[in-house]
Subunit: 172 residues, 2 copies
């Protein structure tokens, strides 16, 4: 797994540092967005937190990364391994990614989201390797002041990730 981190405008908030320390072996990157005008935005920078990891994903962990006192809404999508695919029994799925390009594509999704909706933080975690039935392969979390923005952004994020990010799955 690629263990480098992008040099782009990294923020080490408490949450982010925690995730970073915990997952040094993973491909985790963050990027800040330009600040907006009002005081509240100055107090808390927006974060894009992207992580490709071989570890089991936690909904609580990803959800906590996007919490903000400025936000009234967090929307999440969790993609899990189904026990069947095209009529056949599935034990697990195996995910593989072309990491530098996958990271770039997810970063682009975050940037597109910020053009379309007033969201605060975005976290996209993708597990690689074997993912057994009922466990999460991907978790996306978005926070926003009002609910419509994060709900629409999460749908856009998972639809675009499935269509454009170079991640392949193998049924086993």
């Amino acid at each position: 797994m690629n263990t480098t981190t992008p040099s782009l405008c990294q923020i080490k908030s408490n949450h982010a540092s925690h995730a970073w320390n915990k997952k040094k072996r993973n491909f985790l990157s963050e990027e800040c967005e330009p600040l907006r005008g009002d005081m509240d935005e100055v107090e808390e920078k927006s974060k894009d937190i992207i992580n490709f990891t071989a570890e089991k994903l936690s909904v609580d962990e990803v959800s906590q990364l996007v919490i903000s006192p400025l936000c009234g809404a967090i929307s999440l999508f969790v993609g899990t391994t189904r026990n069947n695919f095209e009529g056949k029994k599935v034990i697990s799925l195996e995910y593989e990614a072309y990491l530098p390009m996958a990271d770039n594509e997810v970063r682009k999704i975050c940037s597109d989201i910020r053009q379309k909706w007033p969201v605060k933080h975005i976290a996209v975690f993708h597990r690689l390797g074997l993912v057994p039935v009922s466990e999460a392969s991907v978790i996306i979390a978005v926070s926003s002041a009002h609910r419509a923005a994060s709900l629409e952004a999460v749908t856009y994020a998972i639809d675009t990730l499935k269509a454009k990010v170079p991640i392949w799955k193998k049924v086993s």
Copy 2:
């Protein structure tokens, strides 16, 4: 707080029993849906899990309640207390519900969802009493085989809950 439980078609699955034992003091109710034709549906009944509680809500707990090996998607919405409302600072929100009617209305939302989308499990947890800034007042989780159903159902659920369920909030 109302401590009775509806007598309607209750299921005590492992998850549900756990939640029930843990939250005996809360208003927690479940209702089964009619089974559909195929074998997988017979193996695992669909659940609507509704809970009004004064306890802190956990995204992981609610998320786990809707996990199913038949599903590839879990969509969640978490409503949190913002630190501002109409230009004024907020310390916490206080929620109050007319419980029997609130429970009925949420149950109706679950039933409507099942008419509109092929979803598996639905969990709606609402906290009552004081909810400090950044903590969750409501968590909705829906699982489905494919992602569109649960994503659309969660949006419908929170929009309809806000519009129709007798829950009041007081800013403090």
